[in-house]
Amino acid sequence: MQQEWTNWSGSLRFTPGSTETPSDEEELAQLVCRAASDGRTVRAAGAGHSSSPLVQTEDILVSMERFRGVEHHDPGAREVTVKSGMMLREANRAFLDLGLALENLGDVDLQSLVGAIGTGTHGTGRRFHILSHHLIGGRLVNGRGEIVEFPMERDSEFVLAARVALGALGIFTALRLRLVPAFRLHRREWCAHIEDCLADLDRLIEENRNFDFYWYPRSDEAKLRTLNFPEEDQKTTIPYARCVKEMSGWSGEVIPRQRELRFDEIEFFFPAEAGPRCFREVRKRVKARHRKSVGWRVLYRTIAADNAYLSGAHSRDSVTISLHQNNTLPYDEYFRDIEHIFRDYGGRPHWGKKHYLKAGDLRPLYPMWDRFLELRQRMDPEGVFLNPYLSELLGCGRTAPLHA
């Protein structure tokens, strides 16, 4: 009997028709080739940290857990090619061994590297991009079961599509990344009143390498997090805040933290200048309407503009706002209600989190939407990598007959 698949928060459950764990590229290519000729579909899963049904399938689910390790390293260019199944934590350690690092990280490192790239995962810091920005090439198996190499030098357009691809262009087997020299950071966490934090927001974002805050809706207090190079962090002061925690270490050790308490989350990207107004409106609405059942936090982060076709920060410096709700409590009414505000501010959803947008809503938000779809069609003309959710999300159907 097939085992039920559950995502991290427990909000998604399904039983795939079969789960495959190919051991190499050839085996994966054959698997996709067979699936294509049998009219079946294939979805690749990472670590199951997404809560949108991107990987949900009743057909073939592929795990890339056997694709591990560094394939190639070019020290001069600071380039590394890794096999695609590496977990983010494992990749961070491997990069550090080579004296390298990703320029930024999100809140946890328990995702797979390829899964994090697949949904445009990001950290915070106005000068730093989503993690996918490091991607400059790699290899994938396309919908015909062909192994395709896509170096930036030859096909920069494809790389921009591949940087946030939702598993719709193919199954990546190798990722080529341009990294930065390894670095250490000093992390501090502060408690303050939200109004003091908002009044000082521009300075906090400007003066800290990484800054974000959590607002707690039932007290109006905020947890501020600052990360700076240790030698530069002496001058950081937040006079109205109380420092409650601090630590130093390599970036991969101090940016991600443990998250034991399970939650569901919705997150949207906004033009940076709209962030404070949007946050204030969300805060007002949460206090007026949702405090009865919502006790957990709202997170505010910043991200630099990039040019990946489906990136939330495509061509605009961005702020993200995300809502958290304990996974044992209802989230739907809360998330839907606040999503209206997010949309009024031109918000683009985080692909890996909850949202209620469909192709018709999404297309106007992404200048390169149609181009992405053309490349998807080229890579996977018969829709081997589509599931019902992706078909609706992207507005493209399968052309092959469904497996009976």
Partner: protein, 124 residues
């Protein structure tokens, strides 16, 4: 050596007021647990919350260091889950060492604040 307090306490009459008046967090309507640990060992405290129409939720875990007091707002508890406001609840407070437990309610729904403080019921 004198032992001050008990290890199990009950509070039957909880209901966190929904609305607040005035600047927060000072004037947030809240219910609060005040725990005194007068002993020489840290107290590992577990709170289980009971509702009218669903199974109990918990434990919410708090440590109260030796010779210290801790005041915890029920409003702020989020692990394992945030408690609903404006909903009847009761709770049992269990500790591995003797503690003293008081329960306070501050209701700022109207500008005229209402304050109430009672001792929890010592069970053992």
């Amino acid at each position: 050596m004198k032992i001050i307090g008990r290890t199990t306490w009950a509070i039957p009459g909880g209901r966190i007021p929904l609305n607040s008046t005035g600047p927060e967090p000072d004037f947030t309507s809240n219910e609060e647990l005040c725990i005194l640990n007068a002993g020489y060992q840290d107290a590992k405290v577990e709170i289980t919350v009971f509702y009218e129409s669903r199974d109990p939720v918990g434990p919410y875990r708090i440590t109260v260091p030796a010779k210290r007091t801790r005041h915890v707002r029920f409003n702020d508890l989020i692990a394992p889950e945030a408690m609903p406001l404006d909903t009847d609840y009761a709770c049992i407070v269990d500790s591995d060492v003797a503690i003293v437990v008081q329960f306070n309610r501050r209701d700022t729904s109207r500008a005229e604040n209402a304050l109430m403080g009672v001792m929890a019921f010592p069970v053992d």
